[in-house]
Structure formats: C-alpha cells, structure tokens
C-alpha cells in the first residue's frame, strides 16, 4: 500500500458568515488547499466532503458547482464532531486502496449561536431539566466530574486549560478570538454547567478547512518540500461500557483509536511534538491528556499545573487556541486541526511555532460516538 501525503492544506479564518452559504464557505477552503498544493480542481480524482448541518444536502457536489464540475466521484460524510476527520480519512483510504493518486477532502460548517444538544423531542414531554440535562456543556461537565471524583481534579485546574488555549489563540490570526482570559476571568465568567463556565465552552463559529492528499508516487513527482506524511489514521466507535446509556463515554473510544494510531505509526506518545485534541469543553481536554497517553492516569491535573501542555512545554496541546478559542465549526474542525499540525511540521506556524516539531497528532471526538486520530510527520 502506498504511503499517503498531505500536499496542500489550509483553513479560512473562523468567524460568523450568516450571509454566505455552506458550499460557498467550503469552496473557499477548497481553493486555498488546491493553491497550497499547486494543483487545480482538474487534477482531483475524487472528493470527500464533511458537513453535519446539511448532511442530506449534497454539500460536496455543491462545492464543485462553485469551483469546477469535473464529474469526479464525491462522497458526503457525517460523523458528529469527527465529520471532517472522517472525510480526510476516507480520502486517505481511497489512496491506500490504490484507487486514486490525488484526492480532495473538505470540511465545512455553518453554526447558529447557542446551546448544542439536549432538546430531545419525540413523544410525550420534554426531558431536559426533568431527567438531568442533555446539553453538551452538562454532558462534558459530568465526564469531567467523573475525573474529579477519581483524582480530585479541581474547578481551577479545568479553568487553567481555558486560560492556556485562549493565550495560544492570541498567536493565531485564523482563530475566532485572540484575547487573553486570565484565570479569574475564566472562573468568574457565567457558569453554564458546573464546572464549565462560558469561557470553558467551545465557540460556535462558521468555518471550513481542506486538504489535498496524494500517493507517494504523486508526491515525489510534484515535489516533497512541503509534503507531510500521514503516519496513522485511526477511527473508533464507542465500545460497550457500563454507564454509556446515560453517560456518553469519550474515554474508551479515544483509547481504542489512540492505541491503533500509535501501532500504525510504530510510535509512542513520547515521540509526539504537539497535539491538537478535542477541547470542546475545558473538562474534555483534561481527560484526553490521559486517554492519548500524554501522561499516566491521574496525572492530567499535574500536566496543566506544571505547564507541560503549554507552548514551550514538554508536549504543547492546542497551540492553535483549540476549539475553546479558535472555534468549533463541527464539520471543519477535524481538517482544521490537521492544518494546524501541518503548519508546525512545515515550520510555517509563525509566532506559535513549536520549535523542531517532527511528529504531530490530531484528535477529534463526536458524541454518539466517533473518535478519529491522525499522526502526521515531516518526512
């Protein structure tokens, strides 16, 4: 099987674009990724498109209607917050399978403001606020509080994660926000679902990101100078766990995908220079330090206290600003974090560059549940 390389990758600056359409937002990133690869839509042999909000509305084809209708196969993917990473992975697989040499992956989302999840519906009466809460801030708060129960993790430690990611975003011109949020501001912000305050919840934004993936043969033909090798692509669903009917388990699923990814790459966590992981809420990031093996179980609080996960630390996490401050356009997030890691591996990340980055990891998780992990390397 051929190795697969990312030849071109880019994202738009995340923001709110109520006057634009989903395909129009996606088309912008697609063109940017093509330019980054030095290719055109005529060179693409297939396209995989990730979008959640219009999953039944042929977003991929509508993007091609904006940038060039060449008749290539298009597949539209939806996989909760792992949607963009799933589209990327489908493109990777199609090259691995020997079907194509040059494939386009696009992730795009247009979000409303406000709370996600929980509204319920169906017959009878609404259950929100009657049988607990199904809102995302609460679901992830409950997952964080499970960690507090086991290891004594504190509200302040969770809040520090948000301080860190907001700080990182001040160095990222493509982030939705570039503002420092000191610890007091984070802890005193409106409480949404304890221990997640408003500044500990990801930002709903519109955005898109895209990548051009190529076979090794094609990469050598076109030039390897800026090519990034995909060392691993792992996708897992949620295994049975005792409480998962009432408590979506983001841990078990991530651990399966991480094990698979490290095995595919023949690497361990100690080899990774930076990680972009799914900080949909500050409480979630804490869990994934352990789930991804960045530290031992029970040490996550220490990782943030000691600064190991900051830019300049032992293993910088979410130097883009993460979902907490860069923003979280669901279907775009999985490719946007691949863009971030590629930027560092190429040495093009500007003020937030992780010096000497050789290997990077991306992680997304969508409730329901899907976890996608990629390991990328500067060849």
């Amino acid at each position: 099987m051929s190795d697969v390389y990312v030849l071109g990758v880019d994202m738009i600056k995340f923001g709110r674009f109520p006057d634009r359409t989903v395909p129009n937002i996606g088309a912008e990133a697609a063109l940017m990724a093509l330019d980054d690869a030095g290719l055109t839509i005529k060179d693409m042999q297939a396209m995989y498109c990730g979008n959640l909000g219009q999953a039944n509305a042929m977003v991929g084809q509508r993007i091609l209607q904006e940038i060039g209708q060449t008749g290539i196969p298009v597949v539209n993917c939806a996989n909760a917050c792992a949607t963009g990473a799933t589209a990327f992975r489908e493109a990777w697989m199609s090259i691995k399978a020997g079907m194509y040499d040059v494939v386009l992956a696009v992730g795009v989302e247009q979000m409303g403001k406000g709370l996600l999840g929980g509204a319920g519906g169906g017959d009878g009466i609404p259950k929100e606020g009657l049988l607990g809460s199904g809102t995302m801030p609460c679901v992830f708060a409950e997952a964080g509080m499970e960690h507090s129960s086991k290891y004594g993790t504190t509200f302040e430690q969770f809040a520090k994660i948000s301080v860190k990611n907001h700080h990182h975003s001040t160095l990222n011109p493509k982030a939705m926000y570039q503002i420092e949020t000191p610890l007091d501001d984070v802890m005193n912000a409106e409480m949404i679902s304890y221990p997640n305050t408003k500044l500990m919840c990801s930002v709903n934004v519109d955005g898109s990101a895209a990548a051009v993936l190529v076979s090794e043969k094609k990469a050598k033909e076109l030039g390897m100078q800026r090519a990034i090798k995909v060392r691993a692509s792992a996708l897992a669903s949620d295994p049975y766990t005792d409480r998962d009917l009432v408590m979506p388990d983001v841990n078990a699923c991530t651990r399966i995908a991480a094990k698979d990814a490290y095995e595919q790459a023949g690497l361990g966590a100690e080899d990774v220079s930076l990680v972009e992981l799914h900080d949909c809420f500050a409480t979630a990031e804490m869990l994934h330090y352990e789930n991804l093996g960045l530290c031992k179980d029970g040490e996550a609080g220490m990782m943030i206290d000691e600064g190991h996960v900051e830019l300049g630390g032992k293993i910088p996490v979410n130097v883009s600003g993460g979902l907490l401050s860069k923003g979280h356009p669901l279907g775009a997030t999985g490719i946007a974090n691949i863009y971030e890691v590629c930027s560092h591996l190429r040495g093009e990340a500007g003020k937030r560059q992780v010096e000497g980055a050789k290997i990077g990891m991306t992680h997304v998780i969508g409730l329901g549940t899907a976890c996608a992990i990629h390991i990328l390397e500067k060849p």
Partner: protein
C-alpha cells in the same frame, strides 16, 4: 398518570418503579426493551428486572444554562443503583452548590409529578427524582 420514560413503570396497583432489561448471559443492564445484548452479543437472553430504589451518586453537574422555560439551577446527576444499572436524573432537595454534593453519597429514587409538564393532549406525567437517602 403516564410515565415520563419507558423504563419507569406505573402499575395500576402498587408503587412505581424503574425497570431494567438484564442480559442473562453477562449481566449487563439496559434501559428500554431490546433483544440483543450490546456487551456480549447474546440474542434473546434479555429479562426484565426491577431496579433498586437506592443507589450512590457517580457524577453530576450543576446546570445554570438550559433551554428557555427550564428552571435553573438544578443538579443533573448520574446514579449507580444498588444491584446494578445507572440512571440519570435531577438530584433534588439539595442546595445546588458543589459544597453540598458529594461523590458516592447515598441517594434514593423518589417518584412524583413531572414538574407539571403536560403533553399536547393535556396529559400529566409521572417522573422520578433522586434525593439524599
């Protein structure tokens, strides 16, 4: 009154209770009817069991922002029932402050009107809540 969820049983006579569906092979307990066990994959080995009215608090959050019209703050709680099964619901009769909520605290399941919520036909519903034991 109608039950708010399908795993709450409101008999004509006697007290309401929570019902689990238990795999006879591996012991996994599910909420709601099913024929296949997603833990051990056994088919047609699922039996109804009456779940305990006591348990311990496994995890929680205090919800301050919910959907319009829903009273906040309230405690969203995950409770491991004695003898198996985990259910989610509101923890009531406790001040919604982390100081007053302890992991592992003993709770009991209590039953009552579903906060006055009615369906489009005007039917009332019975629900369940947790309170300190």
């Amino acid at each position: 009154m109608l039950p708010a969820v399908n795993y709450l049983i409101v008999p004509d006579k006697g007290d309401p209770y929570l019902e689990g569906h238990k795999c006879d092979v591996c012991g996994a307990i599910f909420l709601g009817e099913r024929t296949v066990c997603s833990k051990c994959f056994a088919r047609d080995k699922i039996s109804k069991v009456k779940l305990s009215n006591t348990g311990t608090l496994y995890s929680y959050s205090i919800v301050y922002r919910s959907f319009p019209g829903i009273d906040v703050p309230y405690i969203s709680a995950l409770v491991d029932l004695d003898n198996g099964g985990t259910v989610k619901g509101n923890l009531i009769n406790v001040e919604p402050d982390p100081e007053n909520v302890d992991f592992g605290m003993k709770v009991k399941v209590v039953y009552g009107d579903a906060l006055g919520r009615k369906d489009k036909d005007g039917n009332s519903y019975m629900s369940y809540f947790f309170e300190p034991a």
